[in-house]
């Protein structure tokens, strides 16, 4: 170690994370053994291709191709979504088949299928999933609600972690409802009376919640073993997993799962200062959760799914005041620690391009869906790498020929001078496999830089 982490510049930190990613370790901490020299070569080539596209320093050898599915790998392998959520082995096999059949330049891992039994053990109320509110063939979906009440901003602002542990978790996990009885931890001081704080842990409902937590933890471990196992195996075959971790725009953290769409939109008028203050309070936490994951996983790319700042949700003024400042702060915090923020702008982001270009060059990767890629390239092309935007309707009901034509035009529009990764516009469940193949083949065919 030449320098301590804290002494490195953000560029050096990013390079260090890339180096760890490109020189993977096995679970025992030794150098990962690739299945053959070609696999090792492909693995490194793929990462360098993605790295060059993101950094905007030089053109990659060709446009990287990243098909990013939601439930597709399960359906493609003939599983129901329910099977993929509950049978970790079948899920891993399906995911392996997806990667080996489509040969992407990278993948996002199989964590999106989520451990069904874990959700069951904790009685997760925030989502409906197969057998619990949606059919076996459908993906899980969020049950929006006011899981944080309108008068609870101060509680969140003063103590976000305490709010999550004692208020939010008991509301979204049925089995954890008794945790609302837990003590206020900063009250545990000195020796006098300290034991009073521990009385809740002796109460039967709290004990049953703790038991549920331990069982859920075991389930999470079993599942993570499967997810990690398939990622490791795919790495040995030459396919890198691209994500280090995930975080959110503070506006979405509050608008998606705390206050809900209705709640946060009303708060913009009814209590704008509280909303702004709460987003500020959450910002360092949103940075910390992703930086920690990047450090642990030894990779730079951090996924940030964007929801409620898209075209049509907020006015330009509201976007600039409520959505963008703390999202930018989160992204800058990640960049300072060597991470590459990867916001996925589902829907349209056409009206936001001028605002979001206020970022350092070569440090971010933007996934676009219904954003005009020509305009995006023009405005953001010198700042950020663009990923996208083969539309899901085309992949779903179009023909391979139509997909190929779309990709050809897209590459002409968006790939000049590098800074472009070919992918789908939004995460997909059931699209035609031949269309996805056509997208990937066209990417290789038209994406070579000469």
């Amino acid at each position: 170690m030449a320098k301590e982490w804290a002494e490195l510049t953000s560029d050096e930190k990013q390079e260090a994370l890339f180096q760890r990613w490109i020189s993977p370790k096995d679970p025992g901490g030794n150098d990962l053994k690739f299945q053959n020299p070609e696999a090792e070569k492909s693995y490194k080539e793929r990462i360098n291709r993605i790295k060059d596209a993101i950094q905007l320093k030089k053109q990659p050898d060709r446009v990287p191709v990243l098909p990013l599915p939601s439930m597709f790998p399960a359906l493609y392998a003939g599983l129901t979504v329910e099977e993929a959520m509950y049978d970790y082995e079948k899920c891993s096999a399906a995911f392996r088949k997806f990667v080996l059949d489509f040969e992407p330049d990278g993948h996002m891992g199989s964590a999106q299928f989520g451990p069904g039994r874990f959700f069951e053990k904790l009685d997760y109320k925030l989502y409906s999933w197969p057998g619990h509110g949606v059919s076996t063939m459908h993906s899980y979906q969020c049950n929006e609600g006011e899981y944080m009440k309108e008068d609870e901003y101060d509680a969140l602002i003063q103590d976000p972690s305490g709010f999550f542990s004692n208020v939010y978790l008991p509301r979204v996990f049925g089995a954890l409802e008794p945790l609302q009885m837990l003590p206020f931890l900063p009250g545990i001081l000195e020796i006098y009376g300290v034991a009073f704080n521990f009385i809740p842990y002796g109460l039967p409902p709290v004990q049953s919640a703790l038991k549920a937590l331990m069982e859920a933890g075991q389930e999470a471990l079993a599942w993570a073993g499967a997810v990690g196992g398939i990622e490791g195996e795919l790495a040995t075959l030459g396919y890198p997993q691209i994500l280090a971790g995930f975080t959110k725009a503070p506006f979405d953290t509050i608008g998606d799962t705390l206050r809900g769409t209705r709640g946060i939109m009303l708060d913009i008028y009814r209590q704008p200062d509280k909303l702004l203050e709460a987003m500020e309070a959450l910002t360092p936490l949103m940075i910390k959760m992703a930086v920690g994951a990047a450090q642990m996983n030894g990779k730079p790319i951090v996924f940030i799914p964007l929801h409620k700042g898209a075209d049509g949700f907020l006015s330009d003024e509201q976007f600039r005041r409520f959505y963008w400042p703390t999202l930018r702060e989160v992204m800058m915090g990640l960049i300072a620690e060597g991470c590459i923020p990867f916001p996925a702008a589902e829907g349209g982001y056409n009206s936001r391009l001028e605002v979001i270009k206020d970022l350092p060059k070569g440090k971010t990767l933007w996934m676009f869906d219904q954003t005009d890629m020509g305009t995006a390239k023009k405005i953001l092309g010198d700042t950020a790498c663009l990923l996208g935007n083969v539309p899901l309707d085309l992949l779903g009901v179009g023909t391979p020929q139509q997909v190929k034509e779309y990709v050809k035009k897209l590459i002409e529009t968006a790939s000049k001078r590098g800074g472009f990764i070919l992918g789908n516009g939004a995460f997909f469940d059931n699209v035609k496999a031949e269309n996805l193949k056509a997208m990937i083949e066209a990417g290789r065919e038209y994406g070579a830089y000469s």
Partner: protein, 210 residues
């Protein structure tokens, strides 16, 4: 005062709007006049949404204001408010999909544009659409969906409507995050609306309203 109420609502001054409405109710104003003012304000909100100056926060807040005012007025009214309506629209998010933000915007815009709407909510089974067409007898059916899985649910719904012999009784429009003309063809719907305004135009065209 009703002019002030229209302004307060359409300018998003919630406290003022509620205070004015309360004063009008207590001062013995005609409950229908109060509701008419609120309706007029909602029309302005709709126009501004259409013009791209208002967005989701304004639609949601004005909807909340309208509900609060309607609650205040209700005890004073002999019978429910009656409005002349262009026609009937049946709407819902198709089976398997529980997304409702987009659908709710369409409902809002149809409502302020003078349609009678039956909103079946989310994850609406195919049969429920068919039954509701028989009972409610809409001229227009709107199918909403956000997921790619909704493509097939929309197709199934259109086919079930056909099978029930109701296809020529209704015009069907579809909409949602990933919906396009290609999906319209795939599902057998009559049209796709890119946004809520397009949905209103389609519905107006189909019922022959101006």
């Amino acid at each position: 005062m009703s002019k002030e109420l229209v302004n307060a609502i359409s300018e998003m001054r919630e406290q003022e709007a509620l205070k004015l409405a309360k004063e009008m109710v207590e001062g013995g104003s005609d409950p229908m006049a109060i509701l008419d003012a609120a309706r007029e304000a909602m029309g302005i909100v709709g126009q501004r949404y259409e013009a791209g100056t208002y967005f989701l926060p304004e639609l949601i807040l004005s909807g909340v204001m309208l509900n609060q005012i309607a609650e205040m007025v209700k005890p004073k009214m002999a019978k429910g408010p009656e409005m002349k309506r262009h026609g009937k629209v049946l709407i819902g998010t198709v089976a398997g999909d529980i997304h409702d933000i987009g659908k709710d915007i369409v409902v809002f815009m149809l409502d302020v544009n003078g349609f009678e709407i039956l909103d079946l909510g989310i994850d609406v089974p195919v049969d429920k659409f068919v039954e509701a067409i028989k009972d409610f007898q809409p001229q227009v059916v709107g199918l909403s969906g956000f997921l790619t899985l909704a493509f097939d649910s929309m197709k199934d719904t259109v086919e079930a409507i056909k099978k029930a012999g109701l296809r020529d009784k209704v015009k069907i429009m579809i909409g949602g995050g990933q919906i396009s003309d290609e999906i319209k063809k795939y599902t057998g719907a009559d049209a796709y609306g890119k946004d809520a305004m397009a949905g209103v135009s389609l519905a107006k065209e189909w019922v022959g309203a101006k």
